[in-house]
Symmetry: C2
């Protein structure tokens, strides 16, 4: 099969690997229908973080084989893979944190037994712990909702996690820092949770427009102190009830803290790669600003959000504004790196 590889910062190639097979009795093999490039893929792509090799952790596809102990997932089903695989029955999975599964792990790397778990940006993936990991969607690979369903693999679940962490709900005003795919999905998540007012911080008119289409009620076309001041002005000096931190830099955190009202909460999902100095606590102490978030438990949110995507009331599909065949995935990375694309959908040439 063909699959994407990061050879060095900035250098993505598509290479040939053996087709994966069921190795463990709890495995499934999935033929990828659609995959995508994540904002976090750009960190190693840019050389900001280490990491080489097989890429991609967001995909959906059709099950082509299952191991002997797989009882829920069956060949032929279209399944969505959350961005981490997990057993579904350990203490952390049961508590709703499959992201901390005692036996689980990620894609594009070897599992604890040294057996490759393929990346999502390829034609096939061996998915460990298939019953605990995969969620069935009763649609065909040609369904127009495929992009929206694919978003449940990571970006929509992550935006939803930010909105939950920010305490989005009826009557609440939520500010969203970050107008990337996650920030836009945080807008959707906040709307899904019933937030009354959703303020997107965006200096990119096209992204701001999409945010408004997703439910943002106000656009602040500014950054830094100017942006947090604008949020305070919009809220009669009070600040937002909650803020979604969807970037992960020292500057975005400072903006989030300054935009938040006393007693408010910051839902944080931006991988903190650039918060090199740590989070300054003193500005959060007197105003009692809390933080909740981290790696989104996409697996937990999948069954919760799936019905809304299927009935059309939640449609994150438009975050994908560029589709490339797998063989051209390098162009997709470049487009996201240059901010020419919000999020890139990748279609394996040999897909169903």
């Amino acid at each position: 099969m063909r699959a994407a590889v990061l050879d060095a910062p900035g250098a993505i190639s598509v290479q040939t690997f053996p087709d994966p097979t069921v190795v463990k009795p709890t495995d499934a093999v999935v033929a990828v229908v659609a995959a995508c490039v994540c904002g976090s893929d750009l960190w190693p792509y840019r050389g900001v973080s280490a990491g080489r090799g097989r890429m991609g952790h967001e995909f959906l596809g059709v099950v082509v084989d299952v191991g002997a102990e797989v009882t829920e997932i069956r060949t032929g089903q279209l399944v969505i893979a959350p961005f981490l695989w997990s057993c579904g029955h350990c203490v952390h999975c049961r508590a709703g944190w499959p992201t901390s599964c005692l036996v689980g792990g990620g894609y594009g790397a070897e599992d604890r037994d040294g057996i490759m778990v393929d990346g999502g940006q390829g034609e096939f993936v061996r998915v460990p712990q298939a019953d605990g990991t995969l969620v069935v969607a009763d649609v065909t690979p040609q369904d127009s909702r495929i992009p929206a369903l694919l978003s449940l693999s990571d970006v929509m679940g992550t935006g939803y996690h930010a909105a939950l962490g920010a305490g989005a709900g009826p009557g609440r005003t939520i500010a969203v820092v970050g107008d990337g795919a996650v920030g836009l999905c945080a807008v959707l998540g906040a709307r899904h949770l019933g937030a009354e007012r959703i303020v997107i911080l965006s200096t990119h008119p096209d992204r701001a427009d999409l945010a408004v289409r997703f439910g943002a009620t106000d656009v602040v076309a500014a950054r830094g102190d100017e942006a947090s001041d604008a949020v305070r002005e919009l809220t009669e000096g009070v600040g937002a009830d909650g803020v979604c931190e969807c970037v992960g830099t020292q500057g975005s955190w400072a903006t989030a803290v300054a935009a938040c009202r006393p007693g408010g909460s910051i839902g944080w999902v931006g991988v903190p790669h650039e918060v090199t100095d740590g989070l300054p606590l003193f500005p959060m102490f007197r105003p009692n600003i809390g933080i909740r978030g981290g790696t989104a438990p996409a697996r937990r949110y999948l069954p919760e959000l799936l019905p809304s995507v299927l009935d059309g009331s939640l449609d994150p599909g438009p975050v994908f504004d560029l589709t490339v065949p797998l063989e051209d995935i390098a162009a997709g990375y470049a487009a996201m790196d240059d901010r020419r694309a919000i999020k890139v959908l990748v279609v394996p040439s040999g897909s169903v």
Copy 2:
């Protein structure tokens, strides 16, 4: 009147000042019955933070005069003063965050109009915004519950804030980092909220004993990684459901994060004076550890906790293990600084 003054690091004196009077129509003047020394008073005392002048922000006393616009509080009442004064009707007070009151402030400093608000470690205090600030306790100054009631001014409310932030409740396991007066009150707060298991980290046997008396079910006599490892061992490798961070140093935060289970919450109330490098976010990202806390809204908690103190079901009184007359308050500071005393109660010589 006589009142305590920090002249320089390590140098506390008691000096004579004019008796305070009602200056604004919303003021009350309170004759202090009992005051105390706060762990946070030790920061300027040790020269770790700036700050000189009149000291003390925890006191209760008898109202001796009220301004023309004070309608709730009356002369002769015994009142508890939370450690910040607040109006009770601005947007933040109404939302439950009097700590961010738009007109409020602290003790031992001038108000926004340049008029002195006395420190609590003295014979009398002019309390601004008396109706919003003071809470009446229907007891006499000789009541045996005075120490317990005084604790509601700050330390018990702060411990309760930590326990709430850590998510204490039925079935929960809560670890408490810090065995000072606040940590001990966090134990009480966790028990008050129905926590099933309360683990105190303490290397001081006398404080550990008091923690057990307050409801701790387990004592970990260790610090740092050894302590967080012990909490994990006590919880079958899972970690505590919530952790009360009652110290505020880089080391105590690292212990709190390491002791917390995935998806758990750290209730933080330790003034972050020594978290100089900021809070490292990366260790909290994958396990989804949240933080909630800051300056405790003691005013909000006062009516909630007062009945339990009055009926004896909540008795933080034993955190006071040394009582000194106001004239000897320097000895009280020294005892707390040397950790010979957990918390020092101060009685003005001319008190009721």
